[in-house]
Assembly symmetry: C2
Homo-oligomer: 186 residues x 2
């Protein structure tokens, strides 16, 4: 998914506005297993994933990685709380699959937000979309059996199972990889 098309699909920017906005982003190719941000750092970039796959995760006290979210093509990826509030990130951001991203830093995007009312509108729309997805995940995870949770995941992230490891998916779903492996057998 191309950034320009994505933006236009949500808000009708004028050609010159669009150009101005796009010029604030920097296109980058990122290798597999790259860490974009580590826990404790302040996340200063927002990434639009054109292709590839990323995830956010954190470490439990016992050192286990817990996947928080997956970011595929056409999604904005960042450590939300850190990026927007300037606080140290609670999460790691990692690229799982060679990716092409458009990145923009906090200063620039804040300029865009104050320069263009439409941009602020876009930001609100995207936040709300993400909010409903996260709420959706809670419902799936909180009161469903391990099997139902897996089914939820297939809806939210179709064919993710061919792209990321069992362990990453299991921790996203709040179960052990052994359990997930047993569910898949059926």
């Amino acid at each position: 998914m191309d950034l320009s098309d994505f933006l236009l699909s949500l808000v009708s920017f004028e050609p010159n506005e669009l150009e101005d906005i796009l010029s604030c982003f920097e296109k980058k190719k990122i290798k597999k297993n790259t860490m974009l941000i580590a826990e404790g750092e302040v996340c200063r970039e927002l990434y639009f994933v054109e292709s590839g796959m990323g995830r956010s995760y954190y470490l439990k006290e016992d050192g286990k990685e817990i996947t928080q979210w997956f970011f595929g093509s056409g999604k904005f990826m960042t450590s939300v709380d850190s990026f927007f509030q300037g606080r140290p990130s609670l999460y790691y951001l990692e690229i799982l699959e060679e990716a092409v991203v458009y990145s923009i830093n906090k200063t620039k995007i804040d300029e865009l937000f104050s320069k263009y009312h439409k941009m602020e509108h876009l930001g609100r729309q995207l936040s709300i979309e993400m909010l409903t997805k996260v709420v959706n995940k809670i419902n799936a995870i909180q009161f469903q059996t391990a099997k139902e949770r897996y089914e939820y995941m297939l809806e939210e992230f179709p064919n993710i199972s061919q792209r990321v490891s069992l362990g990453h998916i299991a921790s996203y779903l709040g179960m052990t990889q052994e359990t997930l492996s047993r569910i898949r057998r059926r």
Copy 2:
């Protein structure tokens, strides 16, 4: 928490702007156990809770109520997906404790969003704040023991336990009320 103070604490509206915005809200007193919206209806109002307590919940297939979120003083309450996307609500909204709210409908708030850039900014800020809270809940719930989840709840909603029933809290936390009762014993 007063709506006017609340708005000013986040965005510096001019007196006339503020007045215009406040005039779009309607102050209402709402009785305990009032249902603001039922599942399946489209939620057309957004409520700012000045005092009292509300919750959102849904019914599982077996008919059990699952509390989704609590809304105390100084919070905006609505069925987010329904209100913003105009879809049938997945949740019920209920007032648990006699409340004073300021309500505004979708049409009016959209007018405010397009009229005032600052308003759109406010909307984005509030969405992001809610998003980080919801993410926070996932972390608390997904990988912690029942006892740790209860402790998370006391941080997010201090003294909620004196205000709402055990069953409502238990379902919010993803456990049975028996389990919660046993945790509290200690």
